[in-house]
Amino acid sequence: MTQTAGALRRFNLPDVGEGLTEAEVLQWLVAVGDTVTVNQPLCEVETAKAAVELPSPHAGRVVELLVEAGATVDVGTPIITIDTGEGAEAPPETGGTGLIGETTANGRTAVLVGYGPRTTDARRRPRRTDTTESTPLLATAPDARSKPVRHGGLEVGRQAEAAAVRADAASSTAVAPGRRGPRPLAKPPVRRYAKDCGVDLATVRGTGAGGVITRADVDAARALAPAAVVAVPRTPSAGEQRIPIRGVRKHTAAAMVASAFTAPHVTEFLTVDVTRTMKLRDRLATRPELAELKLSPLLFVAKAVLLAIGRHPMINSSWDEAAQEIVVHGQVNLGIAAATPRGLVVPNIRDAGRMSLAELAGELAELTATARAGRTPPAAMTGGTLTITNVGVFGVDTGTPILNPGEAAILAFGAVRDRPWVHKGKIRVRQVTQLALSFDHRIVDGELGSRFLADVGAVLQDPGSALLG
């Protein structure tokens, strides 16, 4: 036995739940070159069900990390290569039997994930539509045909049958290539056969009972136009990508729809000269007690908002439809909209109104870091009372924000730009930003909204006015 080539083992992402199809690699706990033991944690992954550590199935040296932290990968995807140093076994590429990650003739991933998914077929298991998750707005389906299809059940069978009959009635030719619709009817062995021949069943007309495609039909389609049939694309147009709606995106969508069509939104705008605030920031940054903290423009906007809430407590409130009451909150849980790799999240800073500028700066930094790392706990995203969204970081001036559900106001803060500005009767270059305040008109009238926004602007324009209390 030689020592030249150890056995390279690949570890495929397993299904750590029941029927999961993918997971996000949150972080690697080992690096290339590390020596690992059996069951030593390799990485942390998060699925739709849980965040768990994956223990190593092999002892050896880490040769390669095949997936970057933050990536979402399908079950069955090789994520790491480990050299077990067991001697002259073939490396995975040359394909000895039983090597992990190898795809067998029937399309399944071999050995380690004994039930790994087929990589050559449909990518995702059908899911039953959970009616409890649909918002009332979306639940008003126009007709029964748009009812969720229950894959594998009678529903889909009936639909497919009906469609086949309709297709038969409409035309005796093959179904148009690339047409979306019910899955063509064929028994699994015929599906296998069609796939092996490179025939797309959507292009084949079934002659069996109820329009079922037979092996003979596949042969006929193949003989008819082999080149054309093989060339039929599976997707309707090149480059189109279909992304399942779930996770943060699904949550965001439901929240935004609920908010936009429940609370009547009014948005007001204000352009502010923040030069003095920026100068104050530069001065404060030199103070030793603040030296460690990041003094962002957002911090000063947050402070100005908190001061203005103190003067206009009604802005920090909620509409309680069930109780027919307006709830004026006793404390400010200041939400900060954060763009994360997983989408929009709005964690909030508890009781931000009581914090000093330094405390607020610390909380903001921590909240942002946690959100970017994708570790914001669900508890931190509940109970917010008013939100700031900092669209300025993306270089835009302002927007018309949609309320975080349950809150009465949200402030958008735009980019700070050098602009010609009339200052003390002369045109000067000043640092100027735009604020946009959306509020729930059920609770907040134009007067209150305007006064609040003007108040925020006044503090940013002349931070010294904060001393007025």
Partner: protein
């Protein structure tokens, strides 16, 4: 601790609410709010006596319990890791419940029969079931590889609570056989809300069936805490069915042994069923598909770590000079060997033949089943490219 509380003298509802511990054992590792709890070994490893449950246990048996629990815990850890590596479809961890399972399992005689849920790996071990025969179930190779009659240990039941009916029916059978054996039915706290479990208890009581209902109250029915399931402590439900209920410290292997042994003996002697509530805690997830951090607090888990079933026995063995460092090292080494055997045995398990599912449906093949088998074989063969319409 104190004697069992008289069931009849506190019908006052307000009093009942004080007895229910809203956060299980909150405050201290001693479960101080439970005067009814039978305990023979404290969390600190101090040996106690109980007037109703005297226990004579040899030094060899004590060391055996330590070995049993340590090996089973190691098996459980290996199985959890194997699931995370894609080698098992799912795994239901028993972490924290070793004492409840080994104490109950060792209380059985060879002639007795146990009806497990899907988490009774410790009982399986006590009944001499090879761990690989349990692993094959969770790998999807078979439905459990052991002979239930030979082991006196029925196959795992996945349906919540269903095994209580099987156990009661079986107990009524052995009662009629008059063979003097007893039946031990396992269930969890969540199963007590199931209809089958309540039906089983009605029948068991009516017929004085020789069955003991052993409920491991691990505090959570997946994510639902016990206080959402029951307004009274579970063991007190037995009174409503008309048989005794006992609450035992489920993390105390000696107390579980004594209480279960007494209940099984009563059953053999024709005194009818007993309900045992083994008060314990599931230290891990419900199964590998579950994330317990979403519904319970880390502080609660920390509390229960202080009541660990193995640590307290180790403390007792060390302090009383019944075991030395060499013994503990030997057990650790044996656990590692067991884990290695389980790992290689699981990974190398051959896939079953697709037609194997027809083999043991009935003791003898029936014509309809034979026809189904033939049809299935033809269907399988059609993938190879034979004639197919």
């Amino acid at each position: 601790m104190t004697a069992l509380r008289d069931e009849t003298d506190d019908a006052d509802i307000g009093d009942l609410h004080e007895v229910v511990d809203p956060v299980p054992g909150a405050g201290a590792p001693h479960l101080p709010q439970q005067p009814d709890l039978v305990q023979l070994l404290t969390p600190e490893g101090e040996r106690m006596e109980h007037p109703d449950y005297p226990l004579d246990v040899s030094d060899e048996e004590l060391r055996g319990f330590y070995r049993d629990m340590t090996l089973v815990r190691r098996w459980d850890a290996e199985a959890t890791a194997l699931q995370r590596q894609g080698e098992l479809g799912i795994w239901a961890s028993l972490l924290g419940q070793e004492a409840a399972q080994l104490g109950a399992g060792r209380a059985l005689r060879d002639s007795d029969t146990a009806f497990p849920t899907y988490r009774e790996h410790g009982v399986a071990w006590a009944r001499g079931v090879d761990p690989l025969h349990v692993m094959s179930l969770f790998r999807g190779v078979d439905n459990g590889g052991w002979d239930p009659v030979e082991r006196g240990f029925n196959l795992y039941t996945i349906v919540i609570g269903a095994q209580c009916l099987h156990a009661t029916g079986y107990a009524m059978g052995v009662q009629r056989d008059g063979d003097g054996s007893a039946v031990l039915a396992f269930l969890g706290d969540g199963a007590t809300s199931q209809g089958e479990v309540n039906e089983a208890m009605v029948f068991a009581a009516s017929f004085d069936a020789p069955v003991v209902f052993f409920c491991q109250n691990n505090q959570y029915a997946i994510s639902v805490p016990l206080e959402r399931q029951s307004k009274v402590p579970l063991y007190r439900r037995a009174a409503g069915f008309g048989f005794p209920g006992v609450r035992v410290d489920g993390n105390d292997v000696l107390a579980v042994l004594a209480v279960t042994r007494a209940a099984l003996q009563a059953a053999r002697e024709g005194q009818g069923p007993t309900f045992i509530e083994a008060f314990t805690y599931r230290m891990g997830a419900h199964t590998t598909s579950d994330d317990p951090t979403r519904y319970r607090l880390a502080g609660e888990v920390e509390e229960w770590k202080l009541r660990d079933p193995i640590a307290r026995l180790k403390a007792y063995l060390s302090r009383s000079g019944l075991a030395d460092a060499a013994f503990f090292e030997d057990v650790e080494a044996e656990a590692d060997r067991l884990a290695a055997r389980i790992r290689s045995g699981t990974v190398e398990m051959p896939d079953p033949r697709p037609t194997a599912m027809f083999d043991t449906v009935y003791a003898e093949q029936t014509p309809p089943l034979a026809a189904q088998r033939a049809q299935f074989e033809a269907y399988q063969a059609s993938f190879e490219g034979g004639e197919h319409a």
